[in-house]
């Protein structure tokens, strides 16, 4: 694709780029107060226990991982039946459409009422928030980058499918670990150091950034499809 601008070609996810994107998106998802650390923090404050803050992060991370995992399964299944390029086109279309929708409705969240939740409900909440906001979908271009290494230039066969499946599973773990680490750091800083007042000044509009991130991911997926 000689017609692509060099900047876009340069940013196409090579394996290392894809892995970096998976980590960076984990950090981004972790940073967003709406994805969980704030909920964990409020539970700890409500129960007046620092331990509750840290423990609450685990089901939140697990719920997030489950949402990402569900998308990974879809991608993996898709790759068994369709060409990588077709999946890339589909991903680009979905991301751009969903990103455009979120750009107009960035402030809408799935309806959830309830502060007094157990760990099971916390898992469910996190799964719901990550799914409804397209956390997994945002990750697909990077996941395809990881999967494509095993796929590139070869016909499908069982071995390749296994190793791309393995990489995808590692991607879920790496992403979630990055998310959990960032959530923990942010929660720790707010809980131990700066206090909740920071929310008033520093809580930038993650919902809007999120919508833009979906569109950027969509553009990258589109570039990948075109470059294929």
């Amino acid at each position: 694709m000689a017609t692509l601008p060099p900047i876009l070609t340069a940013s196409l996810p090579e394996p290392i780029g894809s892995w970096l994107a998976i980590v960076a998106l984990g950090a981004f998802h972790g940073l967003n107060p709406g994805m969980g650390w704030l909920f964990a923090l409020s539970r700890g404050l409500q129960q007046q226990s620092g331990r509750v803050v840290w423990i609450s992060l685990l089901p939140i991370a697990a719920g997030h991982a489950a949402a990402i995992g569900a998308v990974v399964l879809l991608v993996f299944a898709g790759l068994q039946f369709f060409s990588l390029q077709r999946i890339q086109w589909l991903t680009a279309a979905l991301l751009l459409a969903f990103g455009a929708y979120k750009l107009r409705n960035y402030y809408r969240h799935p309806r959830w009422v309830g502060m007094k939740v157990g760990y099971g409900a916390l898992f469910l909440w996190s799964f719901l928030m990550a799914s409804a906001h397209g956390a997994g979908l945002m990750l697909v271009p990077a996941l395809l980058g990881v999967a494509a290494v095993h796929d590139a230039g070869h016909a499908h066969h069982a071995g390749m499918a296994m190793s791309s499946g393995g990489s995808l599973a590692v991607a879920v773990v790496v992403h979630t670990a990055a998310m959990l680490l960032v959530m923990g750091i942010v929660a720790w800083i707010v809980y131990r150091k700066v206090g909740l007042a920071v929310l008033r000044k520093q809580w930038i509009n993650f919902d809007l950034i999120w919508a833009i991130a979906l569109l950027v991911a969509g553009a990258i997926a589109l570039a990948m499809a075109l470059a294929h």
């Binding site: 959830w112 007094k116 929310l199």
Partner: protein, 465 residues
Amino acid sequence: MALWKPDPSFYPSAKMAMQAPPERHAYVAALHPQGSGKPDAICVVDLDPQSATYCQVVNKLELPYEGDELHHFGWNACSSALCPYAPHPHLERRYLIVPGLRSSRIYIIDTKPDPLRPQIVRTLEPEEVIGKSGYSRPHTVHCGPDAIYISAMGSANGDDGPGGIFMLDHFSFNVVGPWELQRGDQELAYDFWWHLAEDVLISSEWAKPPQFENGLVPEELLANKYGHRIHFWDLRKRKLEQSVDIGAHHQMLLELRPAHDPTKSYGFAGVVISTEDLSASIWAWRRENGQWLMEKIITIPPVPAEEDDLPPALKPFKAVPPLVTDIDLSLDDRFLYVSCWGTGELHQYDVSDPLNPKLTGKVAIGGIVGKKGHPKNAGPLLGAPQMVEISRDGRRVYFTNSLYSTWDDQFYPEGMGGWMVKVDVEEDGGMSLDPDFFIDFGEIRVHQVRLEGGDASTDSYCFSS
């Protein structure tokens, strides 16, 4: 349109909100009694002592229809937008949600770009409100984390119950629908609020529309037909969990003021009148072993009076009932203000120990018999302390004098006009009328006051400190 930083009037905790800058203006619901041929209005009052128009009505937004009967109203969004399970920190506290209690119409009033010149941006007509919510006579408005919640006194078919709660969409202001999924035997409605951190909603009981629209019905009152129960709901499952009957003679269980600190699960409720001895009472709720308990913590006795000084409805009793019609709790959960609309007093109680309140201050103005004046207006003044609002820092209390058009006429039959006053509060309790603050609204009557940036009966907080 999109905000990059949260609305600066949102605070994670009540404690932080107490550090907020002082309010510079108030919005006041103002009404003309039915049949006057004049519409109700939202008045803007200047509260900035530095301003040349301090303590004056600087603008009056007249509504397009007559007979709405403005009463309570609220902000579209408040600090609950920071609640962690459904954060919407970039909503704006911008729109006033103003229901007509008689008309079932709801006005959405935009306080931007010029907060002193608010404009109606949308009107939800009665057909839409009643049709989609299943209720009529909308009353209390609360900004929830996930929606705007509104209580309603009547059902869709009009006079029969049940009254209940419905929701408006936070963003479009469309009526979402009724809130309750399982209401049990709850019939009567009035006020509601919640313990967000406990997933508990609390609702109270006044009456059905035929019991109040044309005035208090004495026979119904003496038969103990007004509300005397409080309801505790599961906020998540939208289901009635427990009702507590405080005794049939405790008539009209109205205002509910839960503690602002989410680690506390107690609150206060006011009861207008006892049919046994005409006293008014304040009750505290709390939870023990999973059960909600109500305990009477304050009793305010009636004051004997000459028959000649009393309106017809009260003559047989030869006494003025205190008629506690509104209560309000400061953001630090320390002081409870109690309006005695009959006897013309505002009481301040220290409720740091909620079951052992201490009377720490009193001011007297108006009243059925006393009609006591103000340093700025020698009187006689009709009406008495009614809707109370406390500034976020707790140092200023504002109140107005009208209850409800037809009830005003029963208890103050000489024809009440509206006024609003301010009380200055000492840091550790005690209060006095601000001798320079008296706003005469003339013939228009005034009810709920909402302060710029929030007040003690608007915001809910999901964080304790």
